[in-house]
């Protein structure tokens, strides 16, 4: 990073608006940014803050109804807003390149990879086809893709998500651009795949000298990849600074609030729970007077913060270029606050409620290729769940962790009765349920085991009112039969999930994602269930909204002593709220135990890699780096031996490929399924090291 060279990109006082039939919607208000050569800048914010709009504005591709109202974007001395279409075309792809959120949708499904790669240098430079081909193949290996030649001849759908994203990155780097824009490049990818991409992105500046702008909503990812970070709220930058200064001493109340919403390793659901930011993000045409954040700010001072708009100011006594948009930052001492919200009481665990014993679920798939016909193997089995064993107690939170294809959704389906198991048993409150489909279960059984779904936008039927949908659930479970009583119960449920009572009459369309998810929770708890399965309930929500919904779930669980089965791939949230963890991979449970057991050695090698992949937004936490090579095997052709053998970084030999590993008991209820001996595993260093409170930097600063 060359601090003395001229900056690559300067955005100055940028104002971007969308012009729709409903009028002008100001998406970005007063955005300024400078990118130096070789620097990686992060832009972080929640949905609606305008970060993607900024990226599109830099590329001058805002669609028919978007426009830069005022301000300038200067790229290497040229004002991008004044360039002609032809000049822009010569810059796009060659000088500024973009990486997108969904890699598969961004690649043309009908063209081979090599065509899409070679186009870039062929369009911008005067080289021959052969040379373009060579450069493309070279770039594919530079982004760590195995077998570049085969990849060149493939079509996008033949590649995995991680491979597709690497191809898109290769495509962006082929003409040696000076600036790379990355718009949430890993949101659509699995955690361990994401880690690989993140490492690649972090290395790009070093390898190629490219400057980067990395847009994300995840502070942990920003920490791992960027040098400087800009925090955006409601269309403007509220704080900017280097990673060190901003992450250690955040000055703006919003930044501080964001950090309090993230389940960092120091948070604890009972002793130091998450502190959601109260209120809601203002709509673009309803922005308040003065500071946009003041309605939600705990340090709001009437008469000062709600008068006029103001600019960013330089933070005194801080590293260079740490600026904040707050009039009171000097007076607010964030360390005086109690980290985390009010402490809450821990639940006492009760008797055993769920027992899963050797459960298997195989799907039959018909393979209709000619080869299968001749080999006589027309029906194949997808072994979605293989020999699952674990238990859960009343009031306990058990997390099921795994990436796509691990079988957690299948397991949820068997529990809920949408599928029946192939073998083994599952006992809920003593009754066997794995072979009983939903339509054969009693109303009491059904109401005592309910589910909260992942996608808040699909969890409610858009055609019916909220009240109607919850009433239906109450009626179906026979909780109440009298119309008035049902109505009262719906109202009390709305109170429990902290939503206004007149939402009864609204349609889902009128609710935000977080509000819809709250209704989903209300619906699941309508029948007083003894166990609730929550399938990634907060993955699709913004950080602050997710914190609020998570806390709501914890509160309701505390009150009703419900057992919670929490399915997720996000180990930070899992560490925060679960008592026990089950790690799944390709249908097998590779490790299970209490949260402390899982997060400390001995680890199963997969757990080790998962832990290393989790982005943690705490600069003082150290992590060991483990990157997995190899591909996820297809579910129809799993390895004969350990399912993880194709990617395992601790593979000891042929025994891993051929034999299923045994279950080794570390202590009672902590099990690791691996061939490596326990003694060797206990010697492994911890992956995540959280420094003691006494060793922390910011404590020093206070003295």
């Amino acid at each position: 990073m060359n601090k003395d060279q001229a900056p690559v990109l300067i955005c100055k006082d940028l104002c971007i608006s969308y012009y729709t039939r409903a009028g002008e919607i100001p998406a970005v208000v007063d955005f300024s940014l400078t990118v130096k050569p070789g620097e990686t800048i992060g832009i972080v914010g929640e949905s609606g803050c305008g970060k993607s709009t900024v990226a599109m504005a830099i590329m001058q591709y805002m669609g028919a109804n978007g426009g830069i109202k005022s301000g300038s974007i200067t790229f290497k001395g040229r004002d991008l807003t004044q360039l002609s279409e032809r000049e822009l075309r010569s810059i796009r792809g060659a000088e500024i390149a973009m990486i997108y959120q969904e890699p598969f949708a961004s690649l043309n499904p009908s063209l081979k990879i090599k065509t899409q790669l070679m186009e870039v240098p062929l369009a911008h430079e005067n080289i021959s086809k052969d040379e373009a081909r060579q450069r493309a193949a070279q770039m594919l290996s530079d982004v760590n893709l195995p077998d570049p030649e085969r990849m060149m001849e493939s079509y996008p759908h033949q590649l995995s998500g991680g491979q597709q994203q690497r191809v898109v990155i290769a495509m962006g780097l082929l003409s040696n651009p000076s600036l790379l824009l990355l718009d949430e490049p890993t949101t659509a990818l699995d955690v361990t795949v994401e880690a690989g991409i993140v490492k690649l992105v972090a290395d790009i500046s070093k390898k190629f000298g490219t400057s980067q702008i990395y847009i994300s909503h995840n502070l942990g990812l920003i920490l791992e990849t960027c040098d400087r970070v800009f925090v955006m709220y409601s269309g403007e930058v509220v704080e900017e600074g280097t990673i060190d200064s901003l992450f250690t001493w955040p000055k703006h109340p919003y930044t501080h609030g964001l950090f309090a919403c993230i389940p960092l390793p120091t948070a604890d659901k009972n002793a130091a729970p998450l502190k959601p930011i109260r209120g809601q993000l203002p709509l673009p045409f309803e922005r308040p007077q003065g500071c946009y954040y003041h309605p939600r700010c705990d340090h709001f001072k009437p008469g000062l913060c709600d008068l006029e708009r103001f600019k960013m100011v330089h933070v005194e006594n801080s590293a260079a270029d740490h600026r904040v948009r707050c009039l009171r930052y000097k007076e607010i001492d964030h360390h005086r606050e109690v980290p985390g919200g009010e402490a809450k009481e821990a639940i006492e665990l009760g008797k055993r409620v769920l027992k899963v014993n050797g459960m298997k679920k195989y799907y039959e798939v018909r393979d209709s290729s000619l080869r299968a016909l001749f080999a006589g193997k027309r029906i194949r089995q997808v072994k979605a769940n293989e020999e699952l064993n674990f238990t859960a107690r009343e009031g306990e939170t058990v997390a099921i962790v795994g990436e796509s294809g691990c079988g957690k959704s299948t397991f949820a389906k068997v529990l809920m009765g949408l599928e029946t198991s192939t073998a083994g048993e599952v006992r809920h409150n003593g009754k066997e349920i794995s072979e009983v489909a939903v339509r054969d279960r009693s109303a009491k059984q059904i109401s005592s085991l309910q589910m909260v779904f992942q996608n808040p936008f699909d969890t409610l039927n858009p055609s019916h009112s909220i009240g109607g949908q919850i009433s239906r659930v109450i009626k179906k479970f026979g909780v109440e039969t009298d119309k008035k009583k049902i109505f009262d119960r719906v109202m009390s449920l709305l109170d429990t999930v902290k939503l206004p009572r007149d939402f009864y009459f609204r349609k889902p369309r009128q609710l935000s994602g977080g509000q819809k998810q709250r209704i989903g929770i209300a619906r699941a708890f309508a029948g007083n269930p003894s166990m609730v399965i929550a399938d990634e309930p907060v993955s699709a929500l913004d950080v602050s909204v997710a914190a609020a919904v998570t806390e709501l779930l914890m509160d309701i669980q505390r009150e009703h002593k419900t057992t919670l089965l929490f399915i997720s791939h996000d180990l930070s949230v899992v560490r925060y709220l679960s008592d026990r963890i089950v790690v799944m991979y390709l249908g097998h449970i590779l490790e299970r135990g209490t949260t402390e057991d899982i997060f400390a050695p001995p680890y199963h090698p997969y757990t080790e890699a998962l832990l290393s992949a989790v982005p943690i937004a705490d600069p003082e936490v150290t992590k060991r780096e483990i990157v997995l090579e190899g591909n996820l095997p297809s579910a129809m052709k799993p390895p004969k031996g350990c399912p993880f053998c194709t990617r395992c970084h601790r593979r000891i030999g042929d025994i891993c490929d051929n034999d299923l590993p045994p279950e080794q008991f570390v202590v009672d209820r902590h099990i690791i399924k691996c061939h490596i001996s326990l003694e060797k595993l206990c010697l492994v260093l911890p992956v995540i090291t959280v420094p003691d409170v006494s060793e922390r930097l910011h404590v020093e600063q206070r003295e």
């Binding site: 309910q450 779904f453 179906k476 008035k484 206004p500």
Partner: protein, 299 residues
Amino acid sequence: MLITTSTTEMPTAGYGAAFLRALKSFALLRESWVGMVGTFLILFWILVAVFAPWLAPFDPNASIQPFAKPGMEAAKISGTFWLGTDHIGRDILSRVIWGSRTVLIYAPLATLCAYTVGILMGLAAGYRGGWVDDVLSRIADIILSFPVLVLYIIIIATIGASGINIIIAITFASSPGIMRIVRGLTLDLRNRDYVAAAQTRGESDWRVMIVEILPNARGPLIVDACLRLGYVIITIGVLGFLGLGLPPPDPDWGGMVNETRQMAMAFPHMTIFPCIAISSLILGFNLLADGLREISLRD
């Protein structure tokens, strides 16, 4: 903030509310001028059909002397006969007006029957899958493999031509297409979480299909219904033109063209006015469909 008072009223049951909601959605049409023109055309013909007895100056089936005699020049367009008379002296204006009744009774009826059958088949095929889907889809494929008019000709040739038979024929020929559309929508919608939520509540299959899935398919289905109404009107017209439609003498626009075709060289007005009538009505439905599609895309 919570509204913690007992003044939150229980909602009153729905038909009145549903009707008001339907009216409100018509107000949305104002945003698309294409849809507005279409609605206007349709409403025009509906009014004509409803008020036919008062609008038509003559009895549509009565031959007016002295134009009924063969060889006599049929009345041209004049003050008495705004659109002239046909070859046996019947007033064309009256026949066109009364003909709208025929069309506007049979077409919606046939379309409604076809939709009922098609929706039931499509929901079952899409939701249940398995052999139900296989069988229903094969049946649909076989019916759809006939060129449409050939199918109609065969059906009418075997069961004869009458009002009811035409409705049966149209239902039979149109429901596979509708089934395909509904099946596609069902396949897409059945993976939504709210359907899974209903299933995990133990709701019965038919309840899930009709209450959870069908209302969310109404957007594309309404657009298709308008288009299909237009198409059914064409079919009724064509069958009338080919002589396979409703038996005479009731005025039927297609039949009117068929009867007077031979004299078109000398008296073009006999054939042109029914053509304009039928085209304008179909245009109305097509424009409305396009307008609705535009609006649903804007959402």
